[in-house]
């Protein structure tokens, strides 16, 4: 438990992704089974306890501690788990043998609700403050240490020196505490078999296509599809099972019961885009956002934001693996399968191929892609098999040129990690105007924290330091004088900002040192671009 507690503690404080990866790999490399497996389960959200609640922890603390001292401490610390962890005074000392994470997990899994408080109390007595904190967070289900399942798998991959895609493929066939996984990665044991039908298969990803590269490609070697503005998903349907995965292998089926229901009875693995769709019309990404990240969905949400998968590839038909076939062969198989299986068309349709004869013609088509709710064109080599990861030379995304807007810097915030001594996160605003079109008030439209070079960052940082008018902790309010050209993918309605708008993927395209702030864009020009 101590090791796990050290790990959680270090993760809480580590801002940088690389630091987290190193901490995780170090933990996996040096911690014995089955502790590391349970830790992995906890970090990837595959370990939950229903028989312990924060109220129980508070109750235990109240039995032991003077109420005034507890309240004064809680006021000072501000977090219940941490207060209890720090304040707890072990009564029974001399328990020298270490308490293992596995022992805790196994005991909790076998315990009835009534036994849990006493068990918990003995553990609090045996652990140090850090261990107690980790225990309370683990058991009451609030780890929040800034580690996604994907990051944990990436750390495993780095430690085991295998591609992360390979871990994702076998992941769904494994269960905590994952002995086969650690035997494979750590001791050179056999690769665990993927859970054949219900497993996730690593997605094939595309490279961004630069304008300069296109001339070297032969148009007749490629097929074109629209690039949809949803999220990439893989639907795995087979006898008695339907699963929906994101392209990092996270299962999101529980959030999309409408999709799962519609896929019942199919026997296929397909690749496509998850969208909110009304008939033929694709709703903006923002609508899909309303459906994502929800634990439960109610009928109202299902009706208001109906989800659908627009399919563009087929990986398995029945138990037949089609991935080694060429794109053209798979496309033909996809079309015959769709015609024969007739899945509900309001939930599943095929992404059409875009016909073109030359790159110039395709560029014209691409320019009009916004009207369809698409953000550009995908180019797929006709002869390419379906390959895991991001292989070079097969698939390209050819995005429409981004929209831009000239906005004024309003606030700056210190970054994290390497950037912690720099102001590197900026909030930008555009002007509201009066009836005469005069700029009246600046209102925030978005936050941008990339797009600039290190040298530009140093200049921006210097500018912020010289133009700060007020400070709120790490945030500096600056004089509204500096204009930056922001590039963004789209703009949508949002209640997050006072402007009522939010930019998608805003980044700094150019610093307009030359441009007077009152010539920056008006909110109205952005409103006109809302789709």
């Amino acid at each position: 438990m101590n090791r796990f507690a050290h790990l959680l503690d270090a993760l809480v404080f580590a801002p940088a992704r690389n630091t987290k990866l190193r901490l995780l790999s170090d933990y996996f490399a040096t911690t014995p089974d089955p502790d590391r497996g349970w830790a992995l389960a906890a970090l990837t959200g595959n370990l939950g306890f229903t028989n312990a609640k924060p109220a129980m922890v508070r109750g235990l603390a109240a039995e032991r501690l003077d109420p005034l001292l507890f309240d004064l401490s809680y006021d000072f610390v501000g977090d219940l788990a941490e207060t209890v962890a720090l304040i707890w005074e072990p009564q029974t000392r001399g328990h020298n043998e270490p308490l293992h994470l596995a022992a805790i997990v196994e005991a909790l899994q076998g315990a009835g609700r009534a036994e849990v408080p006493r068990l918990f109390e003995t553990w609090l007595d045996r652990l140090d403050a850090q261990g107690r904190w980790a225990l309370i967070k683990l058991v009451t289900g609030g780890l929040r240490v800034g580690v996604s399942a994907r990051l944990a798998k990436t750390a495993l991959a780095e430690w085991g020196k295998v591609p992360v895609e390979q871990i994702e493929e076998v992941w769904h066939g494994l269960a905590p505490p994952y002995p086969e996984l650690f035997a494979w990665l750590g001791e050179g044991g056999p690769v665990p078999a993927p859970d054949t039908m219900a497993a996730y298969r690593s997605a094939m990803l595309a490279h961004p296509l630069e304008e300069s590269e296109i001339a070297a490609l032969e148009p007749s070697d490629f097929r074109a599809e629209w690039k949809w503005d949803g999220i990439r998903v893989q639907l795995v349907a087979g006898p008695g099972i339907v699963r929906l995965f994101t392209r990092t292998g996270e299962e999101i089926g529980a959030t999309f019961p409408d999709i799962l229901e519609a896929a019942a009875g199919l026997h296929v693995v397909v690749d496509g885009e998850l969208l909110v769709r009304f008939g033929a019309e694709v709703a903006p990404f923002n609508d899909l956002q309303q459906r994502l990240n929800r634990k439960t969905v109610d009928r109202r949400l299902l009706e208001k934001f109906p989800a659908a998968v627009r399919i563009y590839d087929i990986l398995f038909e029945g138990t037949e693996d089609l991935r080694s076939l060429s794109f053209d062969e798979r496309r033909a198989r996809l079309e015959t399968w769709y015609a024969r299986a007739t899945p509900p068309p309001d939930r599943f349709d095929l992404s059409p191929l875009v016909t073109f004869a030359s790159w110039a013609e395709l560029a014209e088509v691409r320019a009009g892609s916004a009207a369809l709710g698409s953000e550009g064109i995908m180019l797929k080599r006709r002869s390419s098999p379906y390959l895991a990861g991001r292989p070079k030379g097969h698939w390209y995304k050819w995005k429409r040129d981004p929209d831009t807007v000239d906005a004024v810097m309003m606030y700056a915030q210190r970054g994290h990690g390497k950037r912690s001594s720099f102001f590197s996160d900026f909030t930008f605003g555009c002007w509201l105007e009066d009836l005469e079109g005069q700029a009246t008030e600046l209102v925030p439209v978005g936050k941008a924290y990339f797009g600039f070079t290190d040298a530009e960052l140093a200049e921006l940082d210097k500018w912020v330091r010289h133009h700060t008018v007020q400070r709120f902790g790490p945030v500096a309010q600056v004089e509204p004088k500096l204009v930056c050209e922001l590039a963004f993918d789209s703009v949508s309605r949002s209640t997050r900002h006072k402007s009522g708008l939010a930019l998608r993927f805003p980044r700094i395209a150019r610093i307009r040192w030359d441009k007077p702030a009152n010539e920056a864009d008006r909110v109205a020009t952005l409103v006109a671009r809302v789709k």
């Binding site: 050290h6 270090a10 809480v12 404080f13 580590a14 801002p15 630091t19 190193r22 901490l23 170090d26 501690l65 003077d66 005034l68 001292l69 004064l72 401490s73 000072f76 610390v77 501000g78 977090d79 941490e82 207060t83 720090l86 304040i87 005074e89 140090d128 403050a129 210190r414 994290h416 390497k418 912690s420 001594s421 902790g473 790490p474």
Partner: protein, 336 residues
């Protein structure tokens, strides 16, 4: 019968006044006569007339305040009783920083001890705290909440060295208070076997050299500004806390920012400061040490100041001691 303590020791806006002796202990404003417990800025202020303190404290005051240290400076050894207008004054080790002292005041049979800042655990850079039995114990309360329990020093230094081993290409920069903490962390690192040169922010150098001239061995110390960037990879740099988020830290290769302070016990505090590696190393007594000290000095009455008075007053009352909070202004929650 001995006089009541409040009849001769008075908390005034200028500081704690010992009326029959005509002097202040750690005055917040310049006083004609002052007894100074230790060299930290909120205790040793400039411009006093006659100052009584340990030789260590006087050396520190001279180095930090120059002429402002006082018009006449009198050094007292630990345990040496000095008479000031009929009040017996004896300095005893407080274990806080080099030269730090508690002040035992005796007048007409009444014994009062002013703790100054103190800690109970051994510190290679200063003398160990001695509990002095007394009638009234005036104690600091910086960490007087039961959430503050400082872990063993070796554990914290061990965590720092583990992190250095885990990130050999990065530089570890440890935020430390310039007086006391810097030298203690260095001495603890030396004890743990770290014998490479340690790199210092310029603001720490002078006091470290002073400690060395007073016989505290700190090993090889170098100016961080004179290092090549590559030299600092895998090294440990010490800097004042304020320099961590400052532009100064940009010279360091991909620094891991650590901070050695008792406040690091509380995660939120550490996160607020952007600390990546919080080290709970404090020069103040933690909750257990404060409570234990009340037992050891066994004073009938406890006056609490300099921190979270309410909790310690409550605890003392639970233990059957007369206790009250003393509102003295001018003391800060320092980084010690």
């Amino acid at each position: 019968m001995a006089p009541k303590p409040e009849s001769w020791i008075k908390p005034l806006p200028q500081g704690l006044f010992v009326e029959p002796g005509g002097f202040f202990v750690d005055p917040v404003r310049a006083a004609d006569r002052a007894v100074v417990t230790h060299g930290h800025g909120d205790h040793a202020r400039p411009g006093n007339g006659a100052v009584l303190a340990t030789a260590g404290t006087i050396a520190i005051m001279r180095s930090r305040l120059g002429e402002g240290a006082g018009k006449s400076l009198q050094a007292a050894a630990y345990g040496e009783r000095i008479d000031i207008n009929g009040v017996g004054v004896t300095l005893h080790p407080a274990g806080h920083v080099l030269g730090s002292a508690q002040v035992l005041l005796e007048w007409q049979g009444s014994r009062v001890v002013v703790s100054g800042d103190y800690k109970r655990r051994p510190d290679p850079t200063c003398a160990l705290f001695e509990p002095i039995p007394c009638d009234v114990f005036i104690t600091e309360a910086t960490f007087a909440l039961p959430v503050f329990r400082h872990p063993p020093d070796e554990e914290e230094i061990g965590r720092l060295l583990h992190s250095v081993a885990l990130f050999p290409e990065r530089c570890h920069v440890v935020g430390v208070y310039a007086l006391g903490k810097a030298q203690r962390v260095i001495a603890l690192l030396r004890r743990a076997g770290w014998d490479k040169p340690l790199w210092l922010h310029g603001a720490l150098m002078e006091l470290c050299q002073l400690y060395q001239s007073l016989g505290v061995d700190l090993g090889e110390l170098r100016h961080a500004t004179e290092a090549k960037k590559e030299e600092l990879a895998g090294s440990i740099v010490l800097a004042p806390p304020g320099a961590l988020a400052d532009r100064w830290s940009r010279r360091l290769p991909d620094p891991v920012s650590a901070m050695a302070s008792g406040w690091m016990r509380v995660r939120q505090r550490a996160k607020q400061r952007g600390v990546e590696l919080p080290l709970v190393i404090s020069d103040h007594a933690d909750w257990d040490e404060l409570c234990q000290t009340l037992e050891d000095v066994n004073a009938g009455e406890v006056w609490v100041t300099h921190g979270r008075e309410e909790a310690l007053v409550h605890h003392a009352a639970l233990k059957g001691r007369k206790a009250r909070a003393l509102s003295l202004v001018g003391f800060e929650d320092d980084e010690a």
